[in-house]
Symmetry: C2
Subunit: 243 residues, 2 copies
């Protein structure tokens, strides 16, 4: 099963063997074989097996839980978010509902990129709201919203759940419209990993969004969203109605 004289590293040979093994007798969510079992099956050291599993975890094929075992990773659908839609609208267009949890609310002082994006002076008060979005009971995104406090102080007191976009419409009659997004990709930090239920081996898609009041044109929200990359694709349509 293992060719010790091959130029291909043993841990890579095992990783490939496990991958084809998975396609034959395992389904997503199944508990996979223990390190000990694999060690005996392939006749190698436990560290070598661990190295193989590490590769597959990095590829998103397997997931591990300390003290319990190794699983076959769930294959997740990718949701398409159209450029001009807000997250909630886009997902609901797919017939799914988004569950929003407010993780924290606080007042901070504007500085750096937040001040710059909201067009505020350093030191002006900003409301920060952190929310977790779930679809189908699976963590999808962590969003940090930043709003000028002078503009919508009620958010700090009254916003508890649901779409922040809807809240702004209901309370202020303001329809936030996205004017630009900055998309990048990065590895999640420990806190992101924890809150998104990730294993640390998959990247996140980071989207910084600027929303303005559709009527006055004033910037009312800057947000930083961190999406699980295994659950989302952003679809960007370039000026679809223009000649």
């Amino acid at each position: 099963m293992i060719d010790r004289y091959s130029p291909e590293k043993i841990y890579m040979q095992i990783a490939k063997a496990i991958e084809s093994d998975l396609q034959e007798g395992f389904e997503a969510g199944d508990l996979y074989l223990s390190e000990k079992t694999l060690t005996e099956k392939f006749g190698v050291n436990r560290h070598t097996v661990r190295r193989s599993i590490e590769e597959l975890v990095k590829q998103g094929v397997l997931e591990k839980r300390h003290g319990f075992g190794t699983f076959v990773a769930e294959k997740r659908l990718a949701y398409r978010i159209k450029g001009h839609q807000r997250l909630t609208e886009a997902v609901e267009a797919n017939g799914l509902s988004v569950e929003t949890t407010v993780l924290s609310k606080s007042t901070i002082l504007a500085r750096g990129s937040i001040a710059e994006n909201l067009q505020l002076k350093n030191g002006e008060e900003v409301i920060q709201v952190n929310t977790l979005r779930k679809i189908d009971n699976k963590e999808l995104a962590l969003i940090s919203h930043f709003l000028p406090k002078a503009f919508c102080p009620e958010v700090l007191e009254s916003y508890e759940s649901g779409s922040l976009g809807s809240f702004l419409i209901n309370v202020y009659g303001i329809k936030a419209k996205r004017i630009s997004s900055l998309v990048s990709s990065a590895m999640p930090n420990a806190s992101d990993n924890f809150q998104l239920g990730m294993m640390g081996s998959q990247p996140i898609l980071k989207v910084k969004t600027l929303n303005k009041d559709d009527v006055s044109g004033k910037i009312i929200e800057y947000s930083v969203s961190r999406f699980r990359s295994d659950m989302i694709q952003l679809e960007i349509l370039i000026n679809p109605e223009q000649p």
Copy 2:
């Protein structure tokens, strides 16, 4: 220096120690201490040092080269690509030039997502061109272009370098216009890593783009770009000229 009775793992203590060490006496690009030196400095096993370095590589703080050593990672600028621009235009707008290398050209038969996106039947001939884009002599992106062979067979024979967009203008008088992009994030495979000069610990930003002929409206190119996430941010402006 190391507290063996702390609940914090030794490799994490060392990772933090190295990180502050870097801020004091090292600059980006510097060769860092060898594993052997660190082993002696911290009085731990080499595996433990390697585990610490692994963390920092994952964070993008350090980079390694087999047989040579460990480096302090370069801090790279993020280039902003506006939604409606082609890559070459956008980067040149920043006063930089893009170097294009054609890695391979071949004819393949349309199937799956390629057939679907180019609106071709399964089995129709498609030209695939793989290119590497560099800025400032640094690898930025790998792009796989797919074009219907019936439409532009000359690409296979004559396209050797430079922007593919310019080639299409020069030879056919056709201005390709991007109509949609699908953005996602993933870990690179071994080949991507190699060609982009990456170390395997950083994600890539994947952009699937559909381009049509501005005049006839016919779809003429489908491309899949893999950007180094440490060098690029995509800037998306949503219908900027509309009310």
